[in-house]
Structures are given as structure tokens and as C-alpha cells.
């Protein structure tokens, strides 16, 4: 069959031949062939999976970037390390990847032979089938590029580990992991980063304790004061809610520094940090809440419940009503208060996102 099969097919197989061929499948070597083909299929499928992972890799950095942006490792690192160097490192880490991919495209053909044997294997096979070469190559190239990258770029990823030790492990499987795994990794990294920060925080408990108390007192005092003094809110809030500033927590707001500083020094516990954050949040939103009881009408005891999702950098990602008050003016004013408060100060350390409910009840008014 081995020699006849292709010949037959090339000549145009007759029904008999086909039948013969079919029956041939039941023969012993036919089974062997079946097994073999199954095996090869599986092998190919895994190879394909492998290739896919690789070819996807060109996209991967992008996806990774998105993850980073939303979780904002850089900040975590920055602030936990207390140095602005981290973002730069991160950038350095990020940029080479696309670059190398670019270059790999050009070099593709040339670099092929120089690649490690293990990876070459599938390619060699591929190369034997003439027509295939072009498309498969495309896929194949990144593979070796990947592998090549690792040794070549070792110095670049290496700055990473000091910040997040756990990422070091994540770099190894890099080339094999599909997208799924990557995100998983990110979770791990996040958790690890969190735990490492917690460790750090614990170490510094003693130092930071008194300031935290002070800050808390200050915050309370400020809240009380602001409630009493009807100072001009505009200037207060507009300076208070400095733009974006995701990269630099210090420029966040008048209270941002307090908060982030607190985080950097290491607050006593997470509880305190988030408690303080809640205070700040309340203060901010109250500052921006314009509500005139007259415009709301005579209804009493109305309440609007909003849920918000805050990102690491203080951006409000999501706002939605848990329950509307039924009074459109109150609902509207509450929503606007939240929107005006965006961006909020960066979250305390250890929080990638923060969900919180807001209960707007103007019942305190006459």
C-alpha cells in the first residue's frame, strides 16, 4: 500500500481499489496505520496547539498589557518599592517584546538554521512539504523566536523579579503557555505581590502606627470641618481631584498623598487603609453632590443605592443603580456626584479593584 496508495490516487482510484483499500484498513497493519495516524494526529494537534500558543504570542503582550493596565502592577510595585524606577523597568520589559517580534519577522528565514534543534524538528518536517512552507513558517518562526528570545533577552526580564519574585517563575513557562494560563499567572502574580506587600507592611507596623492614627484624626477633623464650613466647594474639589495621575499617586489629590503615603509606609492593617479610603470617598462624593431638597419635591425618606467599581488608580470603572429611589432628581444627582468624583484617589495598597455601595439619603435635610 505504501507505494501503491499514492500511485492509485494519482491515477484516479476505481471503486474496487477503494473498497480494497477500505478493507485493507481492517488488516493488521491497517490497524497499525490507524494507530499511527491517530498518534500523529494527536501529535499534530498538540503541535498545533503549541503553534497556536506561539502564534498568539504576538498578541499576547498586548493582552498582558491590558491586564497590567487594569490591575496596575506597576503602581503596586512602585509604591511598594517606594521607587519610581519600577514603571520604567516595566516599560523596558514591555517594549522589547514587540520589537523582537518585528525583527523576527524580517529575519525569519535567515535565522532559521541557527535555532535550537528541538524546535527545528517540526520545522524540518514541514519544510519537506514544499507548498506548506510559507504559511507554516509564519507560525513556526515565532516559536523559535520565542525560544531564541529567552536566552537573548534574559537581562531584560530579569529586572522584573526583584519587584515580584513570583514572576520569575512565570517567565519560564512563558513560551508554552496559552492565553488562559497567562491570565492565571497574572492572578498568581497579583496575589503574590499582595502577600509580599503584606509582609512588608507587617514589618513596618511599628513605624507607621502613629502616623496612621494622626491621619485618621486629621481626616475626621477635616470631614467635620467641611461639613460645618460651607467653603467654596469648587476650588476645593477641582484642585482636589487632580487629573488621572494613575502613574503617580502623589499627584492624585490633596488627600491622595496622605493615603498613598500611608500605604507606602505600610498601614497597620488593610482594614484601616480601606477605612480611611472610605472616608475619603465619602468626603469626595459628598463634596460633589449637589442636591437641593426643593427640587426633589415633597417626598420623604427617599434613597438611591449605587454600586461603583473603582480601579487601582482611582478611576471609577462602573457605576450602576442597585435600587433607584424613584425620584429622578435624586437618582440623577447621585449619579452626577459619582461621575464628578471621577477619578478618585488611588486605592490603598493591595487592592486591584474595589467595589463599594453608596447610599444616597437626603433625609438628613429638612
Amino acid at each position: 500500500m505504501n507505494p501503491s496508495y499514492p500511485a492509485d490516487s494519482s491515477q484516479g482510484a476505481t471503486r474496487d481499489e477503494l473498497r480494497r483499500d477500505e478493507s485493507g484498513f481492517r488488516s493488521a497493519w491497517g490497524k497499525g496505520l490507524l494507530l499511527c495516524s491517530i498518534f500523529v494526529h494527536i501529535a499534530l494537534a498538540t503541535a498545533l496547539y503549541f503553534f497556536q500558543g506561539i502564534s498568539q504570542h504576538r498578541v499576547l503582550p498586548l493582552v498582558m498589557q491590558m491586564d497590567l493596565a487594569s490591575m496596575d502592577f506597576s503602581q503596586d510595585l512602585t509604591s511598594s518599592a517606594g521607587k519610581s524606577g519600577a514603571p520604567a523597568q516595566q516599560k523596558a520589559k514591555m517594549t522589547p517584546v514587540p520589537k523582537s517580534v518585528e525583527s523576527s519577522k524580517k529575519e525569519k528565514v535567515v535565522t532559521l538554521p541557527s535555532e535550537p534543534k528541538a524546535v527545528e524538528k517540526p520545522e524540518n518536517k514541514v519544510a519537506q512539504v514544499k507548498e506548506k512552507v510559507v504559511p507554516v513558517k509564519e507560525k513556526a518562526v515565532p516559536v523559535k523566536e520565542k525560544v531564541a528570545l529567552k536566552p537573548a533577552h534574559v537581562p531584560q526580564p530579569s529586572p522584573e523579579p526583584p519587584g515580584k519574585k513570583e514572576t520569575a517563575t512565570s517567565i519560564e513557562p512563558d513560551h508554552k503557555v496559552a492565553l488562559k494560563k497567562k491570565t492565571l499567572q497574572a492572578d498568581k502574580v497579583l496575589e503574590a505581590a499582595r502577600s509580599s506587600i503584606e509582609k512588608k507592611v507587617e514589618k513596618q507596623v511599628e513605624k507607621s502606627e502613629p502616623p496612621t492614627g494622626e491621619i485618621l484624626d486629621k481626616a475626621f477633623a477635616r470631614l467635620e470641618k467641611t461639613v460645618e464650613t460651607q467653603a467654596d466647594s469648587r476650588s476645593g474639589t477641582s484642585t482636589g481631584s487632580g487629573r488621572g495621575s494613575s502613574s503617580d499617586p502623589k499627584s492624585g489629590s490633596s488627600f491622595g498623598p496622605e493615603l498613598s503615603g500611608d500605604g507606602a509606609k505600610g498601614s497597620k492593617t488593610d482594614y484601616t487603609a480601606i477605612d480611611l479610603y472610605n472616608l475619603e470617598l465619602m468626603y469626595r462624593i459628598q463634596q460633589n453632590w449637589a442636591f437641593n431638597p426643593r427640587l426633589a419635591g415633597p417626598e420623604k425618606g427617599i434613597e438611591a443605592r449605587l454600586l461603583i467599581k473603582i480601579l487601582k488608580d482611582g478611576q471609577i470603572r462602573d457605576v450602576w443603580f442597585e435600587t433607584r429611589s424613584g425620584n429622578s432628581y435624586l437618582d440623577d444627582s447621585a449619579l452626577k456626584a459619582v461621575k464628578k468624583s471621577n477619578p478618585l484617589p488611588p486605592l490603598p495598597k493591595g487592592y486591584a479593584t474595589y467595589d463599594i455601595g453608596l447610599r444616597f439619603t437626603p433625609s438628613g435635610l429638612q
Binding site: 505504501n2 496505520l33 499511527c36 495516524s37 500523529v40 494526529h41 499534530l44 498545533l48 497556536q52 502564534s55 518536517k125 514541514v126 519537506q128 512539504v129 506548506k132 504559511p135 507554516v136 492565553l179 488562559k180 491570565t183 467641611t226 461639613v227 466647594s233 469648587r234 474639589t237 477641582s238 472610605n278 465619602m282 462624593i285 459628598q286 463634596q287 460633589n288 453632590w289 449637589a290 442636591f291 437641593n292 431638597p293 426643593r294 427640587l295 415633597p298 454600586l307 467599581k309 444627582s333 447621585a334 449619579l335 452626577k336 456626584a337 461621575k339 464628578k340 467595589d355 463599594i356 455601595g357 453608596l358 447610599r359 444616597f360 439619603t361 437626603p362 438628613g364 435635610l365 429638612q366
Partner: protein, 463 residues
């Protein structure tokens, strides 16, 4: 053999691979969608048990509104000047409401007078970021004394044009045109047209005499409407704003004059004895007044022509100062039937009477809110004359003024958002205004002599 097979299989698989790749892409997409949904769902459940922050002290009690400079549309010589004037009128009028705060132009990022005033030309982010919840733009076009104002009201958060109006008129009508649009803004916010097209009647001393004056709602452009060279008091507007009833001593005896403000005609109520404290029945050409021709001061219902319809009160103490509920079915008034002057409410259909005020020994001058739920009145306590507000069920008593001279003659704006009154807090009696909760107390205008008894008409030009 295997290698050949392999190659064959690979040929077959090439197509498969392409497909599979697509499949994979789709699978990934689905995976992320599912992940997203799951995460979102989780977020919700987590939130359900999450902390709630109570927000119950709005720092701003007023709606922040941005009013950028008005745009000159044809670059006419006068347009810039008129635009500035119109903007001032608008800003003052909005401030007057007590529930709108016009944001400081210094904080504005965009210069719409240069850039453009239509929805497409505005970057609303620039307005939400400064906290403005509404944005008013206007284009001014002037030619030969005719002026056209193109007003637009935007909600920067929804980036929606809430209202757009074009007003055309003579330059002299600038205030009226601008105030019309203020009415639109008010209507958008409160569902009421506001006070902008109301007129204010008040009593002012002229030499030794007291005469009645009428001005615009904010005291602008006052003009004298009575020239009795005598004492004229307690002006009262009919619902349609065409008639003004007041008490005057011009004939030696306090009589009630019913004056048509648009034609030279009127009626006189001059029964024997006192004819005082007129109050119009809402949406009706009839009024209540205190007459004493039966020796006791009682409140009577009269036609606009001065004919008695019926006697409303019947008690041995004096009954004065009627004020009707918005539906005209009930009447608040002052009676001394319990020994001290107190405020009572009478149900006109059933004839039942209930005492409203029990606090303080001297309560007078009730004014029923146009919303129907409250009455403001003047009370004397601790040697001070102040303005109080009480629910018509007798609950929620609030003192609105304190330690600021004598405060008297309260009267509501037609949208019930403001209360005007007279006060001696700055020396001589002047006319003041405050919000319905007693906030933002300020003097309306300064004028020679002493002014008292301010009343707003219920006029409305917007519809």
C-alpha cells in the same frame, strides 16, 4: 513511510489548521466572554454583601450651572455688549432662584463664545470636569435695534440638548427675553416656570405718604402705581395678574381699592368701618376681606366688583388677614377668638375651623404656600418679630429668620421656592428674599424710603 504519512496528514490538516485557528480564536473569545460574565456576576454577588457608605450631606445645595460668554453671531458692533448684558441678566436671574449656582467663569476650560455654541461644537468633558451639571449657551444677533437670542440648555453628562429657544425682540426687551429662558431652565429643573415673569408689588414711603409700587420680580425698574397722596397698604394680586387690590386711607376711611393695571378702571369697597386686608381667591374674580360694618371685624367673600357674596367667619374676636389655599377651598386667617391673635384654617365648604398655631402669643400675616402644604406667618416671641413656617397639619414648625431686625409680611413666589418679606435688619425697612427653607437671605434692592408688604404676582409668560 511515517514521514510521507505525516506530510499527507499535514496537507489535510493545513485546512483543518486554518479552521481550527479560527475556532480557537472563537473559543478564546467565548472563553473571555464567559470569564467576563462570571467575573461580573461575582462582582455583583460580592457587592451585594459589600459595605455601603451613607451619603446624606450634599455639600452643594444648588445646581452648578456653567454659563459661558454669549457668542456674537454676526460680529455686529453691539452684539458683544448686548451679549455681556444678556449674560449678566441671566446669571443674576439664575442666582436669584436660590437653587442654582452659576460657576465661576475662571474655571471654564472651553471658550464657547469663540468656539461655537451648538452641541457638535462643545466638548462636554470640559464641562463635566468642572462639575457643571447644566450648560447654557447663547448666540446674539443684532440688526437695527432688533435682537435675536439663540439659547441652548445642555446636560453635559448626557451630552443632550435639553432645550433650545430663539427669542426675537427689540433691544429694550432684552431682560424679558432672557428671563423667559430662565423660566425654561427653571421648568426643566423644577417643573415650574419660576418667578421670572412675576411682578413684585410693594409699599414704599414717598415723603410722608405710603404708595404702592410695582417692579420686576427682582425689584428692578420700580414704578409707582398709586398716587393717592395718602397711606396705601397691603397690595394683593389677582391670579391673572391684571388686578391689584389694596387698602388706602385716601377717602379718610380705610377702603379697599380694586385697580385694573392695564385699563383705567377699578372698583371700590367702602363699607362703613374698616375695609382691610384683601386677598384674592385663586383663579377667580372674587376676594376675601375684613369688613367691620357689622361692628365686629369679620372676613367676607366679595366679588371683584365689591359686592358681598357671603360672610365667611363668625366669632366674637376679630378675624383678619385671609390667605387661600391654592385650590381655594381652605382659608388661613388670623383670629383673636382664643384671646391672642393666632392662625386658624377654615374649610370653606364645610365651614369647620381649626387652630393652626399654638406656639407663641402673637401670630399674624399667614401666607399659604402655592404648593399647598405650608403656611408662613409672622410671630412675635422674645421681643423679636420673625417669620415662621408651619405645615398645614400643624407639624414641622420652623423659624426662618432670627436676630435680624423685625421681619414681617412674608409672601411666596409662585413656584413656592422663595419667600419675600420686609425686614429692618439694615436700618430702615427694606424688602428681602430668602429660599423656602430660610436660606440665602438677602436684600432685593435699595430704594429711598421704607419698603414693606412685598407680594409677587403669579403671572407667567412662558406658556
Amino acid at each position: 513511510m511515517i514521514s510521507v504519512l505525516d506530510s499527507l496528514l499535514q496537507v489535510c490538516n493545513r485546512n483543518l489548521m486554518v479552521k481550527e485557528r479560527q475556532m480557537k480564536g472563537r473559543a478564546l473569545l467565548i472563553f473571555f466572554l464567559v470569564l467576563g460574565v462570571v467575573l461580573l456576576g461575582r462582582a455583583h454577588t460580592v457587592l451585594a454583601q459589600h459595605v455601603y457608605l451613607n451619603i446624606n450631606e450634599p455639600f452643594l445645595r444648588k445646581v452648578p450651572v456653567a454659563v459661558p460668554g454669549f457668542k456674537s453671531l454676526t460680529q455686529g458692533v453691539n452684539e458683544d455688549r448686548l451679549g455681556k448684558e444678556a449674560r449678566n441678566i441671566l446669571v443674576n436671574a439664575l442666582d436669584f432662584t436660590g437653587y442654582i449656582a452659576v460657576l465661576d467663569p475662571m474655571s471654564y476650560i472651553e471658550n464657547l463664545a469663540k468656539k461655537g455654541i451648538t452641541r457638535a461644537e462643545i466638548n462636554f468633558k470640559n464641562w463635566t470636569v468642572i462639575g457643571s451639571e447644566l450648560l447654557v449657551t447663547c448666540g446674539v444677533e443684532e440688526s437695527n435695534g432688533d435682537i435675536q437670542l439663540k439659547f441652548r440648555l445642555f446636560d453635559p453628562f448626557t451630552e443632550r440638548l435639553v432645550k433650545g429657544k430663539v427669542y426675537t425682540g427689540k433691544i429694550d426687551d432684552l431682560r424679558r427675553m432672557v428671563h423667559r429662558f430662565c423660566g425654561e431652565i427653571s421648568f426643566h429643573l423644577t417643573g415650574k416656570w419660576g418667578v421670572f415673569s412675576s411682578s413684585l408689588a410693594f409699599v414704599s414711603t414717598v415723603g410722608k405718604d405710603k404708595e404702592i409700587f410695582i417692579s420686576e420680580f427682582d425689584g428692578y425698574n420700580p414704578r409707582q402705581v398709586t398716587r393717592h397722596n395718602s397711606i396705601s397698604l397691603s397690595p394683593a394680586w389677582s391670579s391673572d395678574g391684571k388686578w391689584l387690590a389694596y387698602t388706602s386711607y385716601a377717602g379718610g376711611n380705610p377702603d379697599i381699592y380694586i385697580k385694573n393695571l392695564y385699563q383705567i378702571r377699578g372698583n371700590l369697597i367702602n363699607f362703613k368701618g374698616l375695609n382691610i386686608s384683601p386677598a384674592w381667591v385663586p383663579d377667580s374674580f372674587s376676594l376675601a376681606a375684613t369688613l367691620s360694618f357689622e361692628n365686629d371685624q369679620e372676613i367676607y367673600l366679595l366679588t371683584g366688583k365689591g359686592k358681598i357674596i357671603k360672610r365667611l367667619t363668625d366669632s366674637w374676636g376679630i378675624d383678619v388677614s385671609p390667605s387661600f389655599s391654592p385650590d381655594g377651598k381652605k382659608m388661613a386667617f388670623v383670629s383673636k377668638r382664643a384671646g391672642t391673635p393666632q392662625i386658624y384654617i377654615q374649610d370653606l365648604d364645610r365651614g369647620t375651623v381649626a387652630r393652626l398655631t399654638f406656639t407663641g402669643g402673637y401670630n399674624t400675616s399667614p401666607a399659604w404656600s402655592p404648593e399647598g402644604d405650608k403656611v408662613v406667618y409672622v410671630g412675635i416671641a422674645n421681643g423679636e418679630i420673625n417669620i415662621y413656617m408651619i405645615g398645614i397639619d400643624g407639624t414641622g414648625l420652623v423659624q426662618l429668620t432670627s436676630k435680624a431686625g423685625d421681619n414681617e409680611d412674608p409672601s411666596w413666589s409662585p413656584d413656592a421656592s422663595l419667600i419675600t418679606f420686609s425686614s429692618t435688619r439694615e436700618g430702615g425697612a427694606g424688602i428681602f428674599v430668602m429660599t423656602a427653607t430660610g436660606g440665602d437671605q438677602r436684600r432685593l434692592f435699595s430704594m429711598k424710603g421704607a419698603q414693606t408688604s412685598p407680594v409677587w404676582s403669579t403671572g407667567n409668560e412662558n406658556n
